[in-house]
């Protein structure tokens, strides 16, 4: 274990966690809204926003899946030290972290059951391109319509089609974060 794997956590856990959660709550409650997060820094390739989300929401009770180049020794060590989330296979994950391409195929992730739709994975799609072609969003949390660049709109359309089942997505890049719950309809 090196110094860089021990550093980059919250300075004041209670305050940093509270501020980060409020930002994530606002993003999830208002799909299309981009918020800024910068309380935690992990080893490459995890973004500052995704690292902050991990420390805000994940702990030893939340199985985490690492996909693609996010599954590396340095990041595993950093996660083990800072939030202790057990690293698991995709089908067992409560949270999954990776680039969009690395997270494929998405049908590996839990979408909940009709009786317990909350038992579904939250995908943290890191290194997302917020500058891409925006999709039009409607649904709960959105006044009229909102716009947000998506990695592949068809996947989100298919995910919404099985509402109330489905995964929920948090999109991160650098310090920026947006969220797309399964309730959002893509036009």
């Amino acid at each position: 274990m090196t110094a860089s794997e021990l550093s980059g956590g919250f300075a004041v856990a209670a305050w940093d966690g509270a501020h980060a959660f409020r930002a994530v709550l606002n993003a999830m409650a208002r799909p299309g809204t981009i918020v800024a997060l910068s309380a935690a820094t992990g080893p490459e390739p995890i973004s500052v926003a995704a690292a902050t989300v991990l420390l805000t929401l994940c702990d030893r009770t939340t199985p985490l899946h690492l996909a693609g180049d996010h599954d590396n020794a340095a990041l595993r060590t950093w996660i083990a030290f800072h939030c202790a989330a057990p690293i698991v296979a995709a089908q067992d994950a409560a949270f999954a972290l990776g680039r969009w391409d690395a997270l494929q195929p998405l049908d590996r992730f839990a979408i909940g059951t009709p009786e317990y739709p909350d038992r579904a994975a939250t995908l943290i799609i890191d290194n997302h391109d917020f500058e891409g072609m925006p999709a039009r969003l409607t649904g709960p949390g959105i006044r009229g319509t909102a716009a947000l660049a998506l990695p592949d709109a068809r996947a989100f359309v298919a995910n919404h089609a099985r509402f109330p089942l489905g995964w929920d997505a948090i999109l991160t890049s650098g310090r920026h974060l947006a969220a797309l719950p399964r309730s959002t309809e893509i036009r």
Partner: protein, 279 residues
Amino acid sequence: MTDQAYNFAYLDEDTKRMIRRAILKAIAIPGYQVPFASREMPMPYGWGTGGVQVTAATLVPEDVLKVIDQGADDTTNAVSIRKFFQRTAGVATTERTRDATVIQTRHRIPETPLTEDQILVYQVPIPEPMRFLEPRETETRRIHALADYGLMQVRLYEDIARHGEIATSYAYPVEVAGRYVMDPSPIPKFDNPKLDDCPAIQLFGAGREQRIHAVPPYTRIRSLDFEDHPFIASKADHACALCGSRKSYLDEVITDDAGGRMFVCSDTDFCAENAKGDA
């Protein structure tokens, strides 16, 4: 002053993360009741333990907190919860709706319209709208899974058959975003229209029943009714005896034992502002 013997906002960070995860799933599935591992709080069940836990997981140090009990800022429940968070979170508090960023409420929605910068946290006794019709949790889960809400329509119909109208006056069931039927907590049905298309985030916490549900901003909320018996948001047909308002929800106050009574605003902040001419 914050009591240094406690973590910020009383709860430990593990508990707050667990509640925060439940809140996010509740937002993602509007109206669905997410189970959570409710903690024992330093107050009895029925005094808002669910709302207090949701508020504790939501607060940031810069928040301005308002707490109301049946619309009033100055009743025992509201005062003690406000003091609890003053002491354990060190947050500023207010009685003015427009100055608050987080409002914890028992059984009312403020009269002053809420904004996008506010979060409304409800204290919920029984979150399951079907519970008095179907006591088995396994069955109510199936009802929600299948969206098989005929039983609730029958209950409202029986009201009409017996009383000539839908007599349910509080905890009036609503349909959230066209899917889940939700109990909006025992708010008067007068408040139901304020749930609909509300700019604020609405979070509901039931401590004893261990459930959190939520309504995101600008979500369609429809009070269940029939074409020939449409929903009516009723209130006492009087003006407030203190501020004269005819549009706010009124409490009936018995003033003597000879039949004397008066009607006053249940929302004390609205009443005081209205009396000053500011509302």
